[in-house]
Symmetry: C2
Subunit: 156 residues, 2 copies
């Protein structure tokens, strides 16, 4: 996929197309065209333009982690004894599949991660045997998400 990253102008029709596909990536292009009152070919051409502009980075199936037994989400702030250790720490965090996000942040911590685990016991085990074991990690602070009340992409 090429991303020319050229300046692009997105009009209302583009937004409408994207709004449909952001909700359901498999919605037929023809159906979107019918809904907007333009031909399927036009929708297709606009999508190609949007893709080549780099605005669309891909599409994903979303799976429900609870069905897999993953129901505990947590955020962990990580203190590193030297900020320099960041690249190596991230490399090791990447090996932990439960780590979904990893941010290099301002503030007290060096790193903030979001992770998804089965239950509190699983979380504790990850902390003790995986995360605290990473070289350079001096301390962590854990925040368990009791309930995720909003989860969405940036709007158009």
């Amino acid at each position: 996929m090429k991303s020319n990253q050229e300046r692009i102008t997105i009009d209302g029709i583009d937004k409408e197309i994207l709004r449909h596909l952001m909700e359901d990536a498999r919605k037929p292009i023809l159906e979107i065209g019918r809904k907007l009152g333009i031909s399927g070919a036009a929708v297709h051409q606009r999508l190609r333009k949007l893709e080549s502009s780099g605005l669309i980075t891909g599409s994903k199936f979303v799976i429900n982690p609870k069905v897999l037994g993953y129901s505990t989400m947590a955020f962990i702030g990580i203190y590193l004894d030297k900020a320099m250790r960041n690249p190596e720490a991230v490399k090791q965090l990447r090996e932990i599949p439960e780590v979904l996000e990893c941010h290099y942040t301002t503030g007290n911590w060096s790193i903030l991660i979001k992770l998804l685990c089965r239950d509190n016991e699983h979380l504790m085990q990850l902390l003790n045997t995986q995360i605290q074991a990473i070289e350079g990690v001096s301390r962590t602070e854990t925040f368990i998400s009791l309930n995720q009340q909003i989860d969405r992409q940036i709007g158009l």
Copy 2:
């Protein structure tokens, strides 16, 4: 979409199908079938089983916020003067389109939100005019993500 939520067994072929679609929701079923050495019909039947089991919750187009000028991600811990105020606060947070996630968490804060804004100035403006303005918010702590180094779904 029905979700029987029945117990389900996911074998290696199911995982392989999901792995493909989690990366690219528009990948043709037939192509996946060819890659796995089974017919398109079989892939289709498996997908129907996975859908009705509730494992698949949908599909999304992923857009690149940077192309839209959104390049600053931040996490904000919010203190509420009374935890009771949570539902009303969340309702108001939902009205702020830059708020992508909102978690009711253990720990110091009542709420942890993730938000995406254009730049630091935009962030400051959101804090001052939108978030601090919510009734019940007594204090906030902001962590700016200088770099998101991991971003993924739970693995199979």
